[in-house]
Subunit: 385 residues, 2 copies
Amino acid sequence: MNNFTFYNPVKILFGKGQIAAIANEIPEDARVLITYGGGSIKKNGVYEQVMNALKGRSVTEFGGIEPNPQYETLMKAVSQAKSEQIDFVLAVGGGSVIDGTKFIVAAMEFEGEEPWDILSKKTPVTKAVPFGTVLTLPATGSEMNSGSVITRAETKEKFSFGSPYTFPKFSILDPETAFTLPQRQISNGVVDAFTHVLEQYLTYPVNAPLQDRMAEAILITLKEEGPKVIQNPQDYDAMANFMWCATMALNGVIRVGVPTDWATHYIGHELTALHGIDHARTLAIVLPSLLRYKLESKKEKLLQYGERVWGVDAGTEDERIEATMQATIAFFESLDIKTKLRDYEVGQDTIKEIVKRFEERGVKNLGERADIQVQDVEQILTMSL
Amino acid sequence: MNNFTFYNPVKILFGKGQIAAIANEIPEDARVLITYGGGSIKKNGVYEQVMNALKGRSVTEFGGIEPNPQYETLMKAVSQAKSEQIDFVLAVGGGSVIDGTKFIVAAMEFEGEEPWDILSKKTPVTKAVPFGTVLTLPATGSEMNSGSVITRAETKEKFSFGSPYTFPKFSILDPETAFTLPQRQISNGVVDAFTHVLEQYLTYPVNAPLQDRMAEAILITLKEEGPKVIQNPQDYDAMANFMWCATMALNGVIRVGVPTDWATHYIGHELTALHGIDHARTLAIVLPSLLRYKLESKKEKLLQYGERVWGVDAGTEDERIEATMQATIAFFESLDIKTKLRDYEVGQDTIKEIVKRFEERGVKNLGERADIQVQDVEQILTMSL
């Protein structure tokens, strides 16, 4: 096992009816800004529950945070929040609203020239306004970590940041808030969470059997519960299990002491930035090719994954790995998530553009062995055509 | 899945060489009190590493915290710490030193009449002096939770308390600090951690498949790594895996949203209080009888446990449960942990004494269904004779 540091102070309040508990978690005299997305929370009763819980408090709101939250939009929220002297932000939504809110609370306290530097220059965040979340879409895990991914529309760039100051103070996970999600978002969520686990698991063995089994526990549970949720999004238990899997997939628990990959995410972000393809779908496009391309160096974990998650235990090593790849792709496709660039009408031109961007930015040494260079990215994407 | 709250702000620094990191975790101007036990840390180099890390700081020490830490001893530490105006305590040791330190830091700030009330009357802790830990004995999980069990020698009473103020600020988990442990303590640690998991897992199903699999992940890993550690306590990877299992067994992760039992611990505490039997051994005595006594209401989880942890998948339900019980007992015995009261020269008299105590204290409604009464405790202990 590798040395590690683990720290996650997010308080989770899980289950039906928990939105009312925000009243105890937000200081009574705080000036609260509620952030949200396209307004679905005003249709499904979540907004009403939040406002009821905060009755009598000082509350204003900022809506319209888009999927792949944009710097330009978020800076408007920063300006509003500053002028309103906001001292607590409550994000109500999915990963985009929560990621966006992490940036808002950091940018509100940013003392440098332009908050974009937090993303482009990795200028460290040294303080942030406190915030909590009400999660309405199980997927990204953002509700229980300190990371965030932000897009700049102007330049079509998508960058991430994280800091010990951008952990939510609390997150409300009420599975009932997700009952009205469209199937597309549920499918995306299952694949997003599943890929988060694979990025931390399909690397190379370092004698960390507990972490391996915990990762497999999430994968198997997603495999079982994902289709149930799609079948019936109002199946409370299935939604609860899916929701908790998505949170556990990226809260640090399975990452401790093991190598992690993240090249799939890194490459996938470009497809979203350039073509607006849903984040989870970019992962489903890149992952299979990346696994095949790095098959030799991931062989031991691929065999273990195949056996323990998909029950693949017969045949030669090559046959087992192929069966495992097929099972993974079939799982994505069964959720109506296509896994080829052509399915999204993306071709060779985009690969050239991504390679050019990576060369300009000096991107190199991706993956758990830091051995994926720009020319490897080109080949991986070509395999995904 | 049941509703739940999860909150665990303990920062974990795991791996060899991590003791040096305490310098960054303790405020530079803090007046530090180091607490420890019988002095093994002065023989195995841990004390030296700690003192080197804190060179130039204001440091005093309080040693002699015994196994099953005693109120009488801890109150001496409280008095010393107050007179020295200590503002950070560093516990260096196993679960007893850490549990004892949690009581010390709470008692230092206690404003009622007698700090014993925190234990006997469950008077809430409303503040505590901050503390960190350097763990030297994987077993209790105290390094990553806020609970503590304290014994009063005078009255032979053993009570627990916990509070949001008694989470360690950080815990150092360096497997090398455990290389010189006697086999007896390693065996105790494996059984303690294993039983912690079973208390949170062998109840009844609530459709929480992820929590189930995570509990099983710890059990299987303990089953595999425990014997390796006993074979060779200087096997770094085995010790690291055991250490992380013991922490994960009681840091709240596997407890979320599921019923928990804890009757075995409750009853076992009396055997330690009256006869000084090692805590883990009391669990190994009580657990098998309790499982047999509550077999009907635990049947579904017992069958699942047998199949997933011990590979018991043939025979009638009764046969499979019996095979599962035998496998569990054989595992304890293979670690040289005896599972009958007679092995510890304890007989009927002690059962009478425990029943009397429980009647006097009005103990009732133990277990995950709150259906274990004093007369059931008597029968369970009789089955353990």
